[in-house]
Point group: C4
Chain length 194, copies 4
Amino acid sequence: MPKTRLETFSDGVLAIIIITIMVLELKVPHGEGLDALRPLLPVFFTYVLSFVYIGIYWNNHHHMMHVVTRVTGGVLWANLNLLFWLSLFPFVTGWMGENHFARLPTALYGCVLLMAAISYTMLTVAIVNEEGRESVLARAIGSDLKGKLSIVAYAVAILLCFVSHWIAAAIYILVALAWLVPDRRIERMLTPPA
Amino acid sequence: MPKTRLETFSDGVLAIIIITIMVLELKVPHGEGLDALRPLLPVFFTYVLSFVYIGIYWNNHHHMMHVVTRVTGGVLWANLNLLFWLSLFPFVTGWMGENHFARLPTALYGCVLLMAAISYTMLTVAIVNEEGRESVLARAIGSDLKGKLSIVAYAVAILLCFVSHWIAAAIYILVALAWLVPDRRIERMLTPPA
Amino acid sequence: MPKTRLETFSDGVLAIIIITIMVLELKVPHGEGLDALRPLLPVFFTYVLSFVYIGIYWNNHHHMMHVVTRVTGGVLWANLNLLFWLSLFPFVTGWMGENHFARLPTALYGCVLLMAAISYTMLTVAIVNEEGRESVLARAIGSDLKGKLSIVAYAVAILLCFVSHWIAAAIYILVALAWLVPDRRIERMLTPPA
Amino acid sequence: MPKTRLETFSDGVLAIIIITIMVLELKVPHGEGLDALRPLLPVFFTYVLSFVYIGIYWNNHHHMMHVVTRVTGGVLWANLNLLFWLSLFPFVTGWMGENHFARLPTALYGCVLLMAAISYTMLTVAIVNEEGRESVLARAIGSDLKGKLSIVAYAVAILLCFVSHWIAAAIYILVALAWLVPDRRIERMLTPPA
């Protein structure tokens, strides 16, 4: 089975998630002055954070799918499972933004980050099972240390929410920054050594 | 006529349906505590159910279209008819979720499931008419027992709503679980026997 | 320039228009009984009408683009112009549905139908100018009597709104039915005569 | 890496932005007379302006991507950065339209135009870096005088908002008109001289 539709469908869902977050978050204020804009600042910041996260997932998904040669029913469902958790981003982003990073909303945001990261790992495993241990993808991913460390970081951040939710928010930002660097592992595998 | 645009358009509509359900259903609560989240639990459950159903339709549509070689005007309209009924999912999911599986909303949810299932069968028939009785698709689908049983199950569930809407909800879940198993019939036809 | 992106972009816009109409129109009612559903009936009917119209445009767009060999900047803008008028469907459908086919909303609905039909004709002209008078498309479209009659019908319906808006609504339905028959002209041109 | 998904994803985001602006802007009025429609006129005008701007970006993006041969992680992020700024269009359009071109909303609209124009230039630079100074794209763009003048025009307009926001609005319209002419530079490069 070809992978085109899996890509189109994922692109569609991710594109809509981004704009949905924006619409749910950044409600057009009624005043026309700076005062009307100021309460939107923390909300704008959470939008940027979620935009970057969805961007990271799209980017890595794009890189990974590039080296996939075929998809099976199992891979389709692993992908739908990932999209399910990503589809909760608008809800948790809105809740966290509206409550200015309160404890529970910040923890729930972390839970969705955690579940999305686990789902992405499951998708990787499902694909590697199809492609084989010796495939380009399997060698490019290797031990996937970055992915495993992110999962640990999210879990730690959720627990720390009940100590200080600012530390949790800082962890979410740091992990995002660590992933902003595009995943060169796959690009490197595709380039023949000099 | 090629099938690319039928696939792109269907992918777009299905992707938007999923996020629309999420947005209509899971409204960001105003409180920041667990109390604010608790009333959303049944709503979250109906979202999961509808997400799985849309996922099943996308998955089976993907499998079926894979073996289609050409589309005609009749197939395009049969597909639009299916998308019409699926486009009502956000409405009936929202109504059922907001009324905690009340009798009439649960029955209406079943009606949309029933009409979508009938439309999918009509799409299959329209395609088989084009492809011919001896085509890969025709042989892969065979008597389509699973599809026919689902239609019967939805009809029974709608009637049972007025006895106990919990039985109806249970039937919706059971049928979804039965379809979660990917439709291996088409995959099997494409794999040469050992 | 290839035509892929023009198709993807148009598919995306049309898919979102359909679901937007549904969401704007069919607001989830608060009651759980039949009484809550009844006021939605005229709204549901306008949704069906607009769904069919968007389906017709998608279908004909799909047929026309199939025989297009290249697109230029002029064609891209003619297409964007068509999408602009179609993007007003959710607004006019919502206004007409909420006011139960009142005079002015029904006339405005007709104006958008009229502008969309004129824009579609302009797109056809722009493409035929590129493809040449002897192209498959030019011969398939011929004098485009159906398109021209539709434009006249919409104009008449707008004027008749101020006599009886029910006649206008009837004209919108009749024109839609006339187009529901897929545009076999292009399919016929592609099939070699027996 | 192929460029297909970058195009699909961008098409999806841009399509949703257009319909989101329409939905946020043109709220279905409750009355059925002309009085209900009149307050929507300035809002309709801002919708047209933003539709044209998104259309220009889509058109130019389409032309530029046509001559791109491969994309890297850096190009993907430069593209996501552009989409981020374009995703703020619904918010600033809604704010400006609701406040009838008041000073601050008009200035903020200009800021988003400015950031989008800078991001587009950054995307161009990122692609030219990959394609090389001798590529079709690099020669087609040349000194990119139109792009640079637009950036200056937006900056001037933002400052002029605090003198007269009508001058600023006029500049936004004039720049849009200047770009409505499709970017023939790339088309010209692809056509061999007579």
